[in-house]
Each structure stands twice: as structure tokens, then as C-alpha cells.
């Protein structure tokens, strides 16, 4: 039943995109509800009272918050198809480690680039590139972090690619020139329907970010 699975989300959220990709990989039909994050709905406040953030996956009326927790939940419930996490415990621990690394680093470092100026921004650019290069090293020669197919780490990371144009434009630098391998991996992911149908247009994201900066009072 379609409304058995509901996703409260924001089209530009790289966290929400992770859940959408996971649902698409599993072929799960769901109801998508666009949240106005500048004017949060009662539903959101009810479903995620602790953080009041999207995405929130709602399954049979029960909320699951935090994108990577939701992705794992999807993998565990719909465990009869397209596994997102490896079955080997060690590989699984490594997948969790790198997805957690993405969560700890990528957003904050990207924000240093789009929200700061001068020296702070320069430092942000350097650290952001270094983080991507560390991920490139971890990818190695594999087509995906998940090996031959898209996995947990790919899903947790590729969604940030939709924000690269915005970050590059504001930061006035080229990510591809420093991290060509990362970009070719991202484009490989985009050949997958689940990713291609989820990632929004980069220019739209840039407009969204400019608007967000204004609303948040960031120069």
C-alpha cells in the first residue's frame, strides 16, 4: 500500500536523497511529502520532536529519523532484494565506518566553504578536498565503495555531489581538478536510475543555497 511508506523530506536535502535512493534501489513505492523547512509542519514536529529535521521516514505510521538509520531500516525490512550493506561483518563494519566519516566531515567542511570568507574559506576548501581525497583512496580501483554495485557508502556520499556546483561557484574553485577520481565515481553512480532520478539539478541547488544563506543571514 502506497501510504504505508511516507517520506517527509526537502528536495534539496542530501540526507533526504539518501533515503530516496535506498527506497528506489529496493523498488519501494512511497508517498513523498515536501516539507517547507522555513515553516515546519505539525506533522514534522510530531514525527521528529527531538531534532525537528527532515528526512523522516514513516512506515505504518511510525517515524524513523536520521537518514543513515532510515537507510539501514529500509535494508533490514526489505531484506529480500538489493542488499545495501555487505553481508560479511568486517565489510559491514568498514561500510559503517566510512558512511559515518561522511556524516562527520562532508557537510561541515562544505559549509566552511559556502558560509565563510577569506582565510576561513580557504582553509575550508583545503580540508574539504583532503576529505574527498581520503575517500578517493578508500575507493581505490573499485567501481563503487560497495564493490561491483552501489552500497551504503555510495548512497551516503553521492548525494553531496548535487551540492558541488554550488560549493564550487561560491568557493570559486574546481573540485574535479583536485579530485578527478571522485567525480568519475559520482558520474558512474549517476548512471544508476535510483541516483539519476533522485539527485536534483545542481543549478537549482545553487539557487536554493543562495536563498538559504539570505534567510540565515550569512553573507
Amino acid at each position: 500500500m502506497e501510504n504505508e511508506v511516507v517520506l517527509l523530506d526537502l528536495w534539496a536535502s542530501m540526507y533526504g536523497m539518501r533515503v530516496r535512493i535506498a527506497l528506489a534501489e529496493k523498488g519501494i513505492k512511497y508517498e513523498y511529502i515536501e516539507e517547507d523547512i522555513w515553516n515546519k509542519s505539525d506533522l514534522l514536529l510530531q514525527m521528529n520532536p527531538v531534532h525537528k529535521k527532515v528526512p523522516v521516514l514513516i512506515h505504518k505510521g511510525k517515524p524513523i529519523c536520521e537518514s543513515l538509520i532510515a537507510v539501514q531500516y529500509i535494508d533490514e525490512v526489505w531484506n529480500d532484494r538489493s542488499p545495501l550493506l555487505p553481508s560479511d561483518p568486517y565489510q559491514r563494519s568498514q561500510a559503517r565506518f566510512w558512511a559515518d566519516y561522511v556524516d562527520k566531515k562532508i557537510y561541515d567542511l562544505a559549509k566552511k566553504v559556502w558560509a565563510r570568507k577569506g582565510e576561513e574559506q580557504e582553509a575550508g576548501k583545503k580540508e574539504f578536498i583532503e576529505a574527498l581525497q581520503l575517500l578517493e583512496a578508500e575507493l581505490g580501483d573499485k567501481p563503487f565503495f560497495g564493490g561491483d554495485k552501489l552500497g551504503f557508502v555510495d548512497i551516503s556520499l553521492v548525494t553531496f555531489y548535487s551540492w558541488f556546483y554550488a560549493v564550487e561557484t561560491i568557493g570559486n574553485f574546481s573540485i574535479e581538478s583536485e579530485c578527478p577520481k571522485f567525480i568519475s565515481w559520482a558520474k558512474r553512480c549517476l548512471q544508476k536510475e535510483s541516483v539519476a532520478n533522485t539527485l536534483p539539478n545542481s543549478e537549482r541547488v545553487y539557487e536554493f543555497l543562495l536563498d538559504a544563506k539570505k534567510r540565515l543571514g550569512i553573507e
Partner: protein, 231 residues
């Protein structure tokens, strides 16, 4: 299983190391505990955790696993048959346990840790309030989770589980914080569920021999503060 096949690199005061120890105890896994020396960080630490250079690091069959909650899940995955489970069986219960464990790491622990270094009374009060609010949320979560089943002993049911480990590992440091701030964070009026849970947790067979004594942590904290104090 040979004891040296499983090594845990850690330090006795660390609540994160404690999580790994409790998990290994629940599974009755023999392991070699290696106390990290720091100043400087050992070669083993730098090699086995090059990304963060932090403890704990579990080394199993010469392969390192880093990040305490990832270690706990790994231990649960590897030593699964014939031993108590750490994560709940139901996917929704797992999501809830993970949610609150993440909350402890992302919100509760950083707030608690920052109290000692707070600049001024206002910031100190704000952080203490944040910790109190966090504990109130966990009290509420405890009541919700335990009201579902017949066993009201732990977040994990009749045995300690993932969230018990994630949160319970902080109890020593929460007590130290109560002593150093003079503020009772846990009490029978506001958090009766947690007060009783904490007692049971600390008395649990998998916990009692590895949980550091509060007075030792307090001594350690005082030494740290002296070292970090501006000259």
C-alpha cells in the same frame, strides 16, 4: 578462540572503550586489553586508526575496527550464534536504539564534556540545562521502550543491549559531572526510571568489573584539568 586473536586498544577512563569491553563481555569473548600510552600515541594506534588516531580500536584477526558503536555492532555481528544479542531483533526497535545512541554521541556527551571548560557561569548553566533536557528525553524513551515489553529492566529488555551500552558507558562521567558541578543530574523525582536502570546496569555481570570507579575518574579528571589549565 585464542585470546590474542582479539585485541582491544584502549584506555581505562574512556567511556567509548568501556562500550567495547561490555560488548565483548556480553558475548563472553576472550580478548587482550592493550592500554594505550599516549604522549606520544603508539605506532599501533597510528597504524590501526590512521583516520582519527583515537581509541578504542578493536583488532580481530589482525584487522582493525574503529568507532565504539561500530565496534559494538561488529561484535554483535561476529559472535551471533548461541550468545545473547546486543541489537534488538525487530528493525523498528533497532532504529530506535540507534537513534538514541546517536543522540547520546551527538548531543548528550558533547554537552556534558563541555561543562568543565565552559567560559562563564551563563554558558555553564546553559550546558547543564542541555544535559538535564537530554536526560529527560532519555527517561521518556526508557519509559516508552520498557512499557512495550514485559521486561522493564533495561532498554534492551531483560538483558542489556545496544542503547544500554551506548548510554550506560557514560554513567561514570555523568557522576563525575554531578560532583564537579554540584548539580544532581539524575534523581528520583525527575528521572526515576533512569536512576533504577543505572543501578541495575552498573551491577550487571558484563559491566561491574570493567566500569571504572567514580573516584578514580574524578582523580583522573582533576589531573586532566591541571594539565589543561593555562599557565
Amino acid at each position: 578462540m585464542a585470546k590474542s586473536e582479539v585485541k582491544l586498544l584502549g584506555a581505562w577512563p574512556s567511556p567509548f572503550v568501556l562500550r567495547a569491553r561490555i560488548a565483548l563481555n556480553i558475548k563472553s569473548v576472550d580478548y587482550e586489553f592493550l592500554e594505550e600510552t599516549f604522549q606520544p600515541k603508539s605506532q599501533l594506534l597510528l597504524q590501526s586508526n590512521p583516520v582519527y588516531k583515537k581509541i578504542p580500536v578493536l583488532i580481530h584477526e589482525n584487522k582493525p575496527i574503529c568507532e565504539s558503536l561500530i565496534i559494538v555492532q561488529y561484535v554483535d555481528d561476529v559472535w551471533s550464534s548461541g550468545r545473547p544479542s546486543i541489537l534488538p531483533a525487530d528493525p523498528y526497535d533497532r532504529a530506535i536504539a540507534r537513534f538514541w545512541a546517536t543522540y547520546v554521541d551527538d548531543k548528550l556527551f558533547p554537552a556534558m564534556k563541555s561543562i568543565a571548560g565552559a567560559k562563564g557561569e551563563e554558558e555553564r548553566k546553559r550546558l547543564i540545562k542541555e544535559v538535564e533536557e537530554g536526560l529527560a528525553l532519555l527517561e521518556d524513551a526508557f519509559n516508552k521502550i520498557t512499557s512495550k515489553g514485559n521486561n522493564k529492566l533495561f532498554f534492551g529488555g531483560d538483558q542489556i543491549g545496544y542503547l544500554d551500552i551506548a548510554f550506560g558507558s557514560l554513567l561514570g562521567w555523568l557522576r563525575v559531572t554531578e560532583i564537579t558541578t554540584g548539580v544532581k543530574l539524575f534523581d528520583q523525582v525527575n528521572t526515576p526510571g533512569l536512576v533504577n536502570w543505572a543501578e541495575r546496569f552498573c551491577a550487571h555481570a558484563a559491566v561491574k568489573d570493567v566500569m571504572p570507579h567514580t573516584h578514580k575518574l574524578l582523580e583522573f579528571a582533576k589531573t586532566l584539568m591541571t594539565k589543561l589549565a593555562p599557565i
